[in-house]
């Protein structure tokens, strides 16, 4: 079984500054995917960024980037130039690489980190 741990229940940052959210995971799998999802107060979960475990290069999506350390089983999210709209709950999630060449599989989520961006 996989576990995902987010050790920061809450974080805050000033607008335009940079913040890093931590995530560690435990698995015996060698092939898997890691995700960061954002859940604003509206409850709609939105994918922020994803990383394939076989890729050494860290994923980047505009102001969002990850620091993926496979040996340490660590997957942190860095948000640069924070904006008020980034205020949300952030979840780290794990998916085992599906068998049979499909792309489908269940997500295992961490407990979440509430991020507040202050003006």
């Amino acid at each position: 079984a996989q576990t995902v741990t987010q050790s920061q229940p809450e974080m805050s940052v000033q607008e335009a500054e940079t913040v890093t959210l931590s995530c560690t995971y435990d698995t015996s799998e060698s092939n898997y995917y890691l995700f960061w999802y954002k859940q604003p107060p509206s409850r709609q979960m939105i994918l922020v960024i994803r990383q394939e475990a076989y890729k050494q290069q860290n994923a980047t999506e505009n102001r969002f980037s990850v620091n993926f350390q496979k040996a340490a089983k660590s997957f942190s999210l860095k948000i640069s130039d924070s904006q008020l709209g980034d205020t949300a709950m952030y979840f780290c999630a794990f998916m085992k690489s599906p068998a049979g060449g499909t792309s489908y599989g269940k997500l295992t989520f961490g407990q979440g980190t509430i991020l507040t961006v202050h003006p």
Partner: protein
């Protein structure tokens, strides 16, 4: 195009009653997932479908929970003899040919 929709958005019921929660996935999405999110926690997997069949139902907590997807599109999560501990937000997600899951807004279930 339209996203994943879930109805009702809120459901209040009494202990012991039966409830049905509905999910309309994005058109053409072959995979559909159900998760349960308790207050202040991350979502927990319940079940997922590929087409009409349940590919993995390992997350269903007990036999009071059942889900169907008879025509490979809309899915219904059914909870019998509800208990106060079933109170949570029930999230549905769908996907097609990708590991990105698109989530609906959820149904908040309150069992009194």
């Amino acid at each position: 195009g339209a996203g994943v929709s879930q109805t009702p958005s809120n459901k209040v019921t009494e202990k012991g009653k039966y409830v049905e929660l509905r999910c309309d996935p994005i058109s053409g999405h072959t995979a559909l997932y159900w998760y349960r999110q308790s207050l202040g926690q991350g979502p927990e997997f319940l079940i997922y479908f590929q087409g009409t069949g349940a590919a993995d139902d390992s997350g269903l907590p007990n036999d009071r929970f059942f889900a169907v997807r008879p025509e490979g599109s809309v899915s219904t999560l059914k909870i019998q003899r509800t208990e106060r501990g079933d109170s949570a937000v029930y999230l549905c997600a769908s996907s097609r040919d990708t590991n990105e899951q698109f989530f609906g807004p959820g149904t908040r279930l309150t069992v009194l």
